[in-house]
């Protein structure tokens, strides 16, 4: 992550310097920092809403039910789930929120899951990497934002892309999981 971050900044400065975009880069850096705070203000309320709803679902026992259904699959993907009900619940709720297209609900749940995996060593475990990869690969059943975008452009059947979206999602999640299994060899724990 650090290398990626430094790389982006250094490459931007070098390229911007050559092409004479330094002024834009200078103001963009300040803008970007401000945009982060704006983004947090924008999503903090929704994050609170979903965290509150999840607490209700948990106390009502709904998350436990969901976790039971998904446990066999999750134990296979995430060995640290074995014997850890709290983690199984968090991951299954994260996956369910992702599939429903509730990104803002999925984030706090995924963050809870990854914090339950953390051993405090400042290093990502195999399960953490896999959780992040699955969350970056998108497993949304109904891409509502895109559908709205198409509808607003005058499309009468904005959801006719669903089969293509599902096949693509299955492909990318499978490749992502496969890549974690393969790349593990070059980055030993």
């Amino acid at each position: 992550m650090s290398i990626v971050w430094c790389g982006i900044i250094v490459c931007s400065i070098i390229y911007g310097g050559i092409s004479g975009n330094m002024e834009q880069i200078s103001s963009a850096a300040i803008e970007g920092a401000g945009a982060a705070l704006e983004l947090i203000f924008g999503i903090a309320g929704v994050m609170c809403l979903w965290c509150g709803i999840m607490e209700l679902l948990e106390q009502a026992g709904a998350l436990q039910g969901l976790a039971r259904i998904m446990a066999p699959l999750l134990r296979r993907l995430f060995p640290s789930c074995r014997g850890n009900t709290e983690l199984t619940q968090a991951i299954s709720a994260n996956a369910a929120a992702n599939m429903l297209g509730l990104g803002n609900a999925a984030t706090p749940l995924g963050l809870r899951a990854i914090s339950l995996m953390d051993g405090g060593k400042g290093k990502a475990t195999d399960d953490m990497c896999r959780l992040v990869v699955i969350n970056t690969a998108s497993i949304q059943l109904i891409p509502t934002t895109v559908a709205a975008l198409r509808a607003s452009a005058g499309c009468a059947t904005p959801l006719d892309i669903l089969p293509a979206v599902w096949l693509t999602s299955i492909l990318s999640v499978t490749v992502g999981i496969g890549a974690t299994a393969l790349l593990k060899r070059w980055w030993p724990d």
């Binding site: 945009a35 963050l111 990497c129 198409r150 499309c155 293509a164 992502g176 890549a179």
Partner: protein, 173 residues
């Protein structure tokens, strides 16, 4: 479809409240306890978000993204990705709002039912803002050594871009 998706969020909120009430949970204090956790999480991810967004805004302002698209578009075309949607390949993992703007522009310029418009929509709908997600997840715990998470996530992204172009052409071309 808009009527269906409009039901999801309200019903989920209603169902959660009702289920908890029926199970004898003290609903409002429970909700507030959960919501407090949301505030903590939001502010815990702020520093890593500042880092990521600063870098990404600099990258976008430098013009490097356009240069990369230009330089690599023959390679992407060879993988079956239409020339018009090539910018999405670079902007999608970095910036959600940026990718949204690019896709919206393609959809309105080529039409939502054109191959380009559909490929853009499928690409947007089946991929995520990888760097944002990864920096939020790892940043919330202060994890510096992310090992193979980013390379593996980028493999999944690449599969998503190629797959979106392929399946769109196959099913709707």
């Amino acid at each position: 479809m808009t009527s269906f998706t409009a039901w999801v969020i309200p019903c989920l909120i209603g169902a959660a409240a009702l289920m908890a009430e029926l199970r004898g949970v003290d609903v409002l204090p429970a909700f507030i306890k959960g919501a407090k956790g949301g505030i903590r999480t939001s502010f815990k991810i702020l520093p890593s978000l500042v880092a990521m967004l600063t870098a990404i805004h600099m990258l976008r302002a430098s013009g490097l993204l356009e240069a990369l698209v230009y330089a690599l578009s023959p390679l992407l075309t060879a993988m079956g990705i239409p020339e018009e949607t090539a910018p999405l390949v670079f902007i999608r993992p970095l910036s959600g709002s940026g990718a949204m703007a690019v896709a919206a522009e393609l959809i309105s310029r080529y039409g939502p039912d054109s191959l380009v418009g559909r490929t853009a929509a499928v690409t947007l709908g089946s991929t995520e803002t990888t760097f944002y997600t990864a920096s939020v997840y790892f940043g919330s715990l202060g994890i510096k050594r992310t090992r193979y998470a980013i390379p593996a996530a980028l493999c999944a992204d690449l599969a998503g871009f190629v797959g979106a172009s392929f399946f769109t052409r196959l099913l709707m071309g």
